[in-house]
Symmetry: C2
Subunit: 315 residues, 2 copies
């Protein structure tokens, strides 16, 4: 199957052409200053029409959004940051009338897991959880090869908002002590600046600390960086245990830009899981994602091929 794929990010929209497990073409454009989804769709339409001209007929378009979406009606349910008009737009109609294509939309973390199962780190498994560590923490679960969505489409993609520290930091979601508010990209500067010894560590010179800096300084031996890195690994490990206890997978895939430091992360999470997961059969394997930021685009074909568009894939 040949299909068009789009992945909505906070600052960029990635799009491309996929042919089964191959990303034939991909590109991105900036949307840092865009304030409406309509304006973004106008640009996207031009780019996707160009793809159709160059790469020929496609079977459909799959789009990933960083929010909750109704996969049965192709509607954005939760407000997409900065696009206030998103919930009002009939995307099915837009796609049909402008591109002549069928559309499927999905939460971006779920689409990335479909991609990793179809063409990446999960090709041998039907029971998978994925945790994407980035600015936020995205999660998704496949049970018996089917995405778990839940009746309001929230299920399995809010794993970054499980409580791991009931007396912890207030999260942007309204909960306290979520893994996201304890150890995500947006929380890291808050965590670091309050860490004992931070002001005298090599991290203090960094303007707005990110995981790239943290893992680099930890690898170089800065003791505060090591402590904060180990704090993050513990939070991610605790979250992995909850996700495994919740969804019962054979393997858990870790994704996100931070996986550039996979050699510091995967063994630590595997060890935490081996020590702390309860199981009647064995311990799930922790794997690094293989597709990087192309995972969601490569989820297009399995998403378009899904048998049912029902909100719940249980029947």
């Amino acid at each position: 199957m040949k299909a068009l794929a789009v992945d909505f990010g906070g600052t960029h929209i990635a799009y491309g052409v996929v042919e089964d497990r191959t990303l034939t073409f991909h590109e991105a454009f900036e949307v840092a200053r865009a304030t409406t989804l309509r304006s973004v769709l106008a640009t996207l339409e031009e780019e996707l029409r160009q793809c159709q001209r160059i790469f020929g007929e496609c079977s459909g378009l799959a789009m990933g959004f960083p929010c909750i979406v109704d996969t049965s009606t192709n509607r954005v349910l939760s407000v997409l940051k900065k696009y206030e008009d998103a919930t009002d737009i009939d995307l099915t109609d837009w796609c049909r009338s402008r591109l002549g294509l069928d559309l499927r939309i999905e939460n971006d973390a779920r689409m990335a897991l479909l991609g990793e199962q179809f063409a990446g780190a999960g090709q041998d498994e039907d029971d998978l959880v994925m945790m994407t560590l980035g600015t936020g923490i995205g999660t998704a679960a496949l049970i018996h090869g089917r995405l778990l969505r839940g009746t309001h489409f929230h299920a399995a993609c809010l794993g970054g908002h499980f409580t791991v520290n009931y007396n912890g930091r207030l999260c942007s979601c309204g909960n306290v002590g979520c893994s996201e508010s304890e150890a995500s990209g947006w929380a890291l500067p808050l965590v670091a600046s309050k860490w004992q010894g931070y002001e005298n560590s090599s991290l203090a010179d960094i303007h707005s600390i990110g995981f790239f800096d943290l893992f680099a300084h930890a690898k170089a031996g800065d003791s505060v960086a090591v402590q904060i890195r180990d704090h993050c690994l513990k939070i991610w490990g605790a979250t992995a245990v909850s996700l495994i206890h919740a969804y019962d997978p054979n393997a858990l895939i870790l994704g996100g830009g931070v996986m550039g430091s996979a050699e510091q992360i995967v063994p630590a999470i595997q060890s935490y899981v081996n020590r702390h997961v309860w199981s009647s059969w064995g311990k799930p394997e922790i794997r690094a994602a293989k597709l990087g930021n192309k995972a969601a685009l490569l989820g297009a074909v399995p998403l378009l091929n899904e048998e049912s568009r029902a909100p719940i894939e249980l029947q």
Copy 2:
């Protein structure tokens, strides 16, 4: 449908005859000194044969176990405390040859949720989570009216072992800071005895403190009891948030003996959920279970009527 129902507890086995939503007859016998499942089954066979003689032909037998079970083969998967022979017994064969009946077995928390949906607090909903607060903390989830089981039958019934305090107490499951190790019946004496001021509180005279004592002393105004009760409510609230984020229900049912103090518990958990759950549609309702310790027995008919015996109810 008329059916036989059995609920395996730690010290007692409850059994009975159900006719749709009515528990026609129920009884229990003690197993405090039993060391093998075979010896318990011998007693159970006599009692159930007696039920068959008195109440006539039944369509099947449903049994709930306080452990992980393979619902497709009717095998106990995790060691049932004190019954070392449990995993070796072919229960299907036992039921067919001794009672002439078809058998379904299930985790007891899942069976209780089926009961509450069929005849109790969840009759109007297909998307439910149940949390049973007792010696341990049992959980179960119905999505679109189907039990979530997972590929190894762990899914949704290990919610008492989500991490809520990543630096917390070691749990019997091997994890740290589970809701069960922070606020269950078995953990309560450990939590209380280390509480500041405990030795001078009215709780100090109690031999092995239980929730009944805790809620009574809190209601009577003992300040340490109030603090420990509020700690437990906070842990249960944090767990409810994680369960709601995990399984996306319309309502969460709270069960267990502690619900004798429902008036101190339900409003507190509802308030916690309203403040801390993220949702695109509204906040799930917190409800007290209606069937008490009869819930699992009343889950017999819906369990026996389930369409599929597949390990995963996703197809």
